[in-house]
């Protein structure tokens, strides 16, 4: 049975989630991937972060253009491992959770444990399903990156699995 959770993610809820649990997520999340992370980190390095991600959940995704009748085009997760190098810093500076697909580095797992965070796995390839969960989209910055711009989206009943929990349990290490 799926557990319903809402974003922004409550700290106690985050700590209560357990690897292997199926969840339906509703609320607001930030969306970006490789190029968005690269540029955000350049802005952090320059001392002026382009967005504030404290308490937020980031979904690693770059959507298709919206078809007529869609709020957002197909929008399944991309491979999270490519964002591993940015991840520990982001959890250490207030990020609540990440959503993507696939395994993470040990450094990421440790950062999740130390900060009471969580990593959700969305179902890779399920772009049309996830599109039907999106009720609102707002582009925040880096629009020149096209599909890789930073967006805020609102979702309803977005299906995912708890992949790494705050105790360090890891669905990819069985």
């Amino acid at each position: 049975m799926e557990r319903k959770i809402t974003l922004p993610l409550d700290k106690e809820v985050a700590k209560s989630l357990r690897t292997g649990e199926t969840v339906l997520i509703s609320g607001d999340m930030l969306v970006f991937r490789d190029a968005g992370h690269k540029r955000l980190f350049e802005s952090i390095k320059a001392g002026k972060p382009d967005i504030n991600y404290e308490g937020e959940t980031i979904y690693f995704m770059g959507p298709c253009p919206a078809m007529p009748g869609q709020v957002m085009g197909s929008c399944g997760p991309t491979t999270s491992g490519r964002m591993d190098k940015y991840t520990p810093y982001m959890f250490d500076t207030g990020l609540a959770a990440q959503i993507g697909k696939g395994k993470r580095s040990n450094d990421c797992v440790q950062a999740i444990v130390r900060n009471g965070g969580v990593y959700f796995a969305a179902i890779g390839g399920a772009g049309a399903t996830y599109s039907s969960c999106v009720t609102k989209v707002e582009e925040l910055c880096y629009s020149d990156l096209g599909t890789e711009a930073i967006r805020r989206i609102t979702v309803k009943d977005f299906p995912a699995i708890v992949a790494i929990d705050s105790l360090g349990n890891n669905i990819y290490e069985r």
């Binding site: 292997g20 199926t22 190029a35 995704m61 770059g62 959507p63 298709c64 253009p65 078809m67 009748g69 869609q70 085009g73 197909s74 929008c75 399944g76 991309t78 491979t79 491992g81 697909k101 696939g102 395994k103 796995a121 179902i123 890779g124 390839g125 399920a126 772009g127 049309a128 399903t129 599109s131 039907s132 096209g146 599909t147 299906p159 699995i161 669905i171 990819y172 069985r174």
Partner: protein
């Protein structure tokens, strides 16, 4: 002598891309359904349920199955009796540009990382064949799986035994990244680039079909069995469905070598073929 209709080629390529982006290849859809029915691991089963539902939502509404609508890979078989009065590669890329109009543009310059803006160019392989037709095989290749590709230049003493071990290992190492259950394409022999091309072309085979070469057929069955014992499972969540199929193609190679290329396809195969 007949002149090739390059306008028709462009149009058919555009239509094929629009169709396959939203419609999972039918043998793949059937294999996913079978996998879902046979999966006992509840988390993997949940993932397979979502994958099957997603394919149906996409087909019903005309939405792309996956947001990674890939890079277009095109194999062209051009009849030698045809007159080519124009640039066949331009026709293919014009078709790709049109076909991707409502799809994600993921193609960029590898050095500057500046997007080409229209998902061109396609990767095009051409062969001259008998006859007066153009046959086209086209695939929208996602890169979660492409990034998990491997190529090994084995020495003859290592032989097929080592090749088998490395093929299985490449799927294990890829783990959850290529969106399993995967389809595994293997190229044996040739040179470095020939092995890679074979491994890509192998992915056009229909799931459920047998390799016409009995030795390769046995090898495919053996590898599929071993890969499905790895326990990677759907989306890396465990269970017995790590791969839907293993397809092998071979080509003669040099006395000094055994090239082995492994190219993976995610669970949503988007490919088709046609002839004009």
């Amino acid at each position: 002598m007949k002149t090739a209709d390059l306008n028709l080629l462009e149009q058919k390529i555009a239509e094929a891309i629009e169709y396959i982006a939203c419609n999972m290849e039918s043998s793949c859809r059937a294999a996913l359904e079978k996998a879902r029915e046979g999966e006992e691991n509840p988390t993997a089963r949940f993932a397979l349920d979502v994958m099957c539902d997603n394919a149906d939502i996409a087909a019903k509404n005309g939405f792309p199955v996956c947001q990674d609508t890939g890079m277009a890979v095109v194999f062209l078989y051009v009849g030698r009796e045809l007159i080519l009065d124009g640039d066949i590669y331009k026709a293919v890329n014009d078709g790709v540009r049109r076909g991707y109009k409502m799809l994600r543009k993921s193609v960029l310059d590898p050095v500057t990382r500046v997007n080409t803006g229209d998902n061109t160019p396609a990767v095009i392989h051409t062969q001259i064949v008998e006859g007066e037709k153009i046959r086209v095989e086209i695939m929208l290749k996602g890169f979660g799986s492409e990034n998990m590709s491997k190529v090994y230049m084995l020495n003859p003493a290592q032989g097929l035994e080592e090749a088998k071990r490395l093929i299985i290992d490449s799927v294990a190492v890829a783990g959850s990244n290529p969106c399993p259950p995967v389809i595994v394409g293997v190229g044996l022999g040739g040179t470095l680039e020939k092995a890679c091309e074979l491994s890509k072309h192998a992915l056009f085979r229909k799931l459920g079909s047998s390799n016409p070469d009995p030795e390769l057929d046995n090898l495919e069955k053996y590898l599929l069995g071993e890969i499905n014992k790895l326990g990677v499972g759907a989306q890396g969540f465990g269970g017995n469905t790590t791969a839907l199929g293993v397809f092998i193609e071979k080509y003669p190679t040099h006395i000094s070598s055994l090239p082995v290329a492994v190219n993976m396809l995610c669970h949503c195969s988007r490919a088709t073929s046609f002839e004009i």
